[in-house]
Amino acid sequence: VSTPAWDASADDLAASVRRLSASWPAGESSRAEALTALTNLGLFDLIPADDFAAARQRFAHVCAAGRPLLAMPGAAEFWTCGVAARLVLSIAAGDSRYPASSRSWEGTGDPAMSLRLPAGAPPDAIAERGPGPAGTWTVTGCVPNVFCAPDAQHLLLEAKVDDNRGPALLLAHLDSRVEAGPPDRTWAGDPLREFRLDRTAATLVASGSPADLSALTTAGLVTAATLQNGQLIGLVRRAMAHTIQHLRDRHQFGRRLADLPVVQAHLADAELHLTVAEVVAGSALSAVLREPGPPRGASLALAVLARLSVQTRTTQAITIANRLTGGIGYHDGYPLARLTRALAGQSRLFGARAAFQSLAEHLTTDHRVVRALGALQNPNHLKPDRQES
């Protein structure tokens, strides 16, 4: 598999998104318009539902080159609905274990999404076969905490199958039998909705053993998280820029804050955290892109460890940025406050840190995976594996 190529057209697109993001006015009122603007740039068309590899490759260019791109309203919906949901559908479409119905899915809208990493709670909704021809399902129940694009027409959700055959992944049409609860808000300002479904028609995307379903959703969500790492880094890079400017502008004890050695040492710590996050995110991106299909084994484990690292390091870096800027980071009128809120929400889009920690521990109990992680870049440095020793 060749190394990812960074082509000019992807960079051009990333530059367009970056310009749009940088010039977008802050504020909740522009959320719908922001999503429309992103749609008009063609971002939602980057991931066709039937070609996971092409989707991932193409989108990775934008995420890497335009990493500050989505520090704007609507980012959460974009990632969960526009990227993660389509990646999951793309994996199912390319895997013969899943029903043909998922391969024929045509994304006429941007599906809202309710999926969770294996560490999450079991689903509440119940799926029943029929009525009608084979392959027809109906779903009843409550689906909470859904990031939902304003014009979403489908809901991708997990449900328990009524005959105890384990969970299933379904794509439900958001019609009159779906009641959308009042919009809730994360404290980062992102809208969450609860959906109540009353015998809503749904298409089966995947069913089978819990392990199969878990592998499908984990691969999709971890891939999306790997692509989104760049956004988290971009948010904190921007926070660092504001912080450095503040340190240059403000004076204390007759000197610029930037000239105080203790301030420089703290700033160095923030930069170290951010550099580590950036490099590890790139390494994971490379590993995920090199897989011919969805990430698995060492690539999946590397992506999960990288996500953990990015979540931890970006949080530490922005904490230092807030410490260095004092109350400015606490007031909505300043960019640092908005960036801090955005990071807190968006770093948990695909699972909190605890969920990734749990997943990482699960994946690395396999000694072959640990050995393969060591061999990814340095095959010479392998000692006898844990099981053998």
């Binding site: 890497a64 760049g230 820029a241 240059r248 420089q264 160095a268 550099t275 590890v280 870049q377 000692k383």
Partner: protein, 398 residues
């Protein structure tokens, strides 16, 4: 209102995602060759003691033989400038340092400035006579250079050094004392940083001159101080040591700029992940003395190892690609050493009690304790982590 922010001009995410490109087939082969050699040369050797020897615990005689073998096999000088070396990528030196450190080769930890930093200082600023005399033997592994920079009251503030160089009719006379001169006990030559009395009217940073002097010349004394592990570390006294004009590096008075440029290069290669990989492999493939790790410890150890490894190679690749920054070498050093320290601490916490807490230094059979004590040294060597943080911080706000 497009904002400019740090990192926009150099996309480390992109560099990291393409990093395998930087380790091409030749570099991979070089790594495998060095690794095979280390395994062959170091396995089962009995030249290792925990006392009175160099910082890596090998006997000095074996260290000399080993270095000679590195030269004979063509491992040295791959990235030194032509005609003294092959003029290849700095990644060759990084790979070499990585392998030597991972295998705990004699003085082959990333600290061996003699291999990793001094050649660049010499080739960029040595006189033609000095280079003609020194470099062919250097590449053959017959020269080892100790860096006489640090003094008792001039470490993190190196410009405060007091070793004096006085102009004489036949060149210079150097007097003073250097401490923490790594490897001086087996050095053939010393690079000595001095305050040049010709420039006593100048600001202190503009009055330093660097010399290369043979370690066995009259007036040079090498004294050994014992460290926590029982190994020794050198202190060098200089009493009216004679140096000729052709032994001056660069222009007289220009020592500070040479020295800081050279240290950046040293830190870059010191940032190799060998020590981290060694600790990670010991932690994750425990021997009988180590308690099996919990899943959380495995995840913590793996994450730290992956972070350090990716940063070492990516930041060096960024330098090769022309998108490196002045702060990168210092960042590599801090990231690597803090990761190694975290892994050593994890490993020690998962070791059965052996010699820890008993009298006398630990032995190599107490591997975790030995590493933990030895690597206290790495927390202050080559400028120390606090100095490195200042370099990073100043570069960010400048």
């Amino acid at each position: 209102m497009h904002e400019k922010f740090p990192g926009e001009d150099r996309d480390l995410l992109k560099v990291a995602a393409g990093q395998d490109d930087w380790l091409d087939a030749d570099l991979r082969e070089f790594r495998a060759t060095v690794c095979d050699f280390c395994v062959q040369a170091l396995t089962g050797q009995d030249h290792r003691t925990a006392s009175d020897e160099d910082i890596s615990g090998w006997s000095r005689d074996f260290g000399r033989e080993f270095r000679h073998e590195l030269g004979a096999r063509g491992f040295l000088g791959r990235s030194w400038p032509q005609p003294y070396g092959d003029g290849l990528s700095i990644l060759y030196d990084l790979v070499l340092a990585d392998e030597l450190e991972f295998h705990e080769a004699p003085a082959g930890t990333g600290l061996d400035s003699s291999l990793l930093h001094a050649p660049y200082l010499l080739t960029s600023s040595g006189t033609s006579r000095l280079l003609a005399e020194l470099m062919p033997r250097y590449r053959a592994g017959l020269v080892r250079i100790g860096l006489g920079y640090t003094e008792a009251e001039a470490g993190s503030d190196l410009a405060a050094l007091t070793t004096m160089a006085r102009r004489s009719s036949a060149g210079y006379l150097i007097s003073g004392e250097k401490v923490f001169t790594s490897g001086a006990e087996s050095a053939t030559h010393l690079i000595v940083a001095t305050r040049d009395d010709q420039f006593s009217d100048r600001e202190r940073h503009a009055a330093m001159t660097l010399f290369v002097v043979p370690a066995d010349c009259d007036g040079v004394g090498i004294h050994l101080d014992r460290t926590l592990t029982g190994a020794v570390h050198a202190r060098v006294t200089l009493q009216n040591v004679r140096a000729a004009d052709w032994e001056v590096l660069g222009e007289p008075g220009d020592g500070w700029s040479l020295l800081t440029r050279g240290i950046a290069r040293e830190r870059a290669v010191i940032g190799n992940p060998g020590m981290v990989e060694l600790e990670a492999s010991e932690l994750l493939a425990p021997d009988a003395a180590t308690v099996s790790c919990s899943p959380a410890v495995v995840v913590a150890g793996l994450t730290r190892a992956i972070e350090a490894r990716a940063c070492s190679y990516t930041l060096t690749a960024a330098e090769e690609a022309g998108v490196g920054t002045k702060r990168d070498p210092s960042m590599m050093q801090v990231i690597k050493r803090e990761a190694a320290r975290d892994l050593q601490t994890l490993r020690l916490e998962h070791s059965q009690l052996s010699s820890a807490g008993t009298e006398g230094p630990p032995t190599f059979s107490d591997s975790a304790e030995w590493h933990w004590l030895r690597d206290l040294y790495y927390l202050y060597a080559a400028g120390g982590l606090d100095v490195s943080r200042m370099v990073i911080g100043r570069d960010l706000v400048s």
